[in-house]
Subunit: 344 residues, 2 copies
């Protein structure tokens, strides 16, 4: 005896109101007396009613769902980003569907086809600026689009000033004695998509170092993938070139974590023998006392969601760019910085 899902009719009957009224409650329409609204809401509650998004889509042209296209990369960054996006969306009774981009072929299907993904009300593109893969640099969709963790003149975009982050890192590490090394992250080679965030971080880093009178030589840069083990290999590599104390800037917290891990394993003291500065400001950085250039990932996600909501509600203005700034967070992994600038 399985009961069918309750519909709007059931709710209307139970609350003793008309269909239209229930619908209005559902859509936050103002013309409903508070007590009526309450009655309807209670009926919904009791019936365990939830509107059918397909029906809403079909009838109203809106599905109350947005698609988030994101790289298929399991990092804390995307977890935080989605959390930020979701926070805002849920509050507005919107749902979100994630579309991991496993391959270029998948992406094309997402966009060219009339799949469910494509029938949502808006699109958030994370990290990849995929626009150039399409004609005229525009995605083949008529729905609003917002980019996050990427910049593009044609669409609203929310991004972090990675160069500034790199500069903060450079200026900070320049104050310490000892050689300075850096680790940058390379994407998987088979990914056709290019990203520039890590390159920007390193550029800013070297810039600041140079300005501080401590130019950075390329052989002190180690490139690896976005893994903890990469950081461990990097530290070993550095230790072959110089002896402690040394300073390491890692382009990503996860990699920095590997550096810390390996330092401890080798009997070195983080913050003294090896000073490590990460980039991201992920929760785990705090747990392990990792100094880092923190980026407000959740806030960026939330902002992107807001921009998209505005567009979905009809805003037609020119593309907006929202720039976020990272901040330096000092913790134990860099020890106590010298009061004065270090002069080599």
């Amino acid at each position: 005896m399985k009961r069918k899902k309750p519909t709007i009719h059931d709710v209307a009957a139970k609350a003793g109101v008309g269909l239209g009224t229930v619908s209005r409650v559902l859509n936050d329409h103002p013309a409903v007396r508070p007590e009526t609204r309450a009655r309807v809401l209670r009926a919904m509650e009791e019936l365990g009613y939830a509107p059918n998004p397909h029906a809403r889509r079909i009838a109203g042209g809106r599905s109350y769902t947005v698609s988030v296209l994101l790289p298929f990369v399991a990092t804390e960054f995307y977890r935080r980003l989605v959390e930020g996006i979701e926070g805002v969306l849920l509050e507005q009774r919107y749902d979100l569907a994630l579309f991991p981009i496993l391959s270029l072929a998948r992406l094309k299907r997402y966009l060219e086809n009339t799949t469910l993904a494509y029938l949502t009300d808006g699109l958030i593109l994370a990290s990849y600026d995929l626009t150039e893969r399409f004609e005229e640099g525009r995605l083949p969709t008529e729905r609003p689009v917002v980019l996050v963790d990427a910049q593009n003149p044609r669409y609203d975009s929310v991004y972090l000033d990675n160069r500034l982050g790199g500069r903060l890192a450079g200026a900070y590490l320049a104050r310490f004695p000892g050689p300075i090394f850096a680790i940058t992250v390379e994407e998987e080679p088979d990914r056709a998509f290019s990203r520039t965030v890590f390159a920007e971080r390193m550029a800013g880093f070297q810039e600041a170092l140079k300005e501080a009178g401590r130019p950075f030589s390329p052989d002190r840069l180690y490139t690896t993938r976005h893994s903890q083990e990469g950081g461990r290999l990097a530290l070993r590599h550095f230790l072959e070139k110089a002896s402690p104390p040394l300073n390491v800037f890692a382009g990503a917290d996860q990699v920095a974590l590997g550096v810390l891990e390996e330092a401890v394993r080798l009997g070195l003291t983080p913050g003294r023998d090896v000073r490590v500065l990460g980039f991201d400001g992920h929760p785990f950085a705090e747990e392990v006392g990792l100094s880092t250039i923190a980026q407000p990932v959740e806030a960026m996600g939330a902002r992107a969601a807001q921009l998209l909501l505005e567009r979905m509600r009809g805003y037609q203005g020119p593309p907006r760019e929202v720039r976020f700034e990272p901040v330096l967070v000092e913790r134990a992994s860099t020890g106590t910085p010298p009061a004065a600038l270090y002069v080599p």
Copy 2:
């Protein structure tokens, strides 16, 4: 002047037939004369018509979309798996939506809420046997469910015999002279979900080794994450314990790749100084000449999709278990195996 999307009415008008006929063509109903069908199909083609899945869902109770819930882990495995699933589904005019499980909270939302995921016609759960997280060991859904890369008595499941794979690896490496090492993969600790595939592989491996009279001591097992760099660290670690030639079984191709990489970097010759055997049989293994225990990932995905299709079409039988067997693929990374068994 943006044209609206064509609907079934437009197609009907253009083809000079009734609505019902177009719908029948759409659903492969047999009662349509071939020439009529052709005319309708041509009209669709010319109009660029694609049926609206929301409308189909609402009207017929079917949306022609299935959800795939999978771990948010960027590995070749899932790329292949999805490819296998998709191949079968597309053929049957089904669409698929991916739902990456970023966190436990997300999973709950996918299942408990009335989100899009939940409104598709069927569910494929990859890798995680999530059933035990719910009451009575059943997912809170009435749609058919198929597990892949996991086993469960309550649902149809498609899985690889990982223990057998490990045994194959053990039996094979036991034939070579020189010490035998192994690398296993550990999942991210914060993931609440447990997986046993790697443990099973290692169990089988040790079993076979023991049977071959070459028992494996635990200190020859290195644990790392699923990264290439992990393989590199492992090899370094092994080289501190023994000198070449040595034999390495890596629980995953990607890790094996790191071993090869590091071997070359250290001036060792794969297949002679270091014999490496991976697990997965991913395309890149062939490119680099990596011997491996190959699993038919695409076929597993395809099979899972077939099982699901049967269920969606009404099959009510008891849960089915489909077991796949891995096979050993010999390539250059293990060199030429001795004709006779090696006797220590």
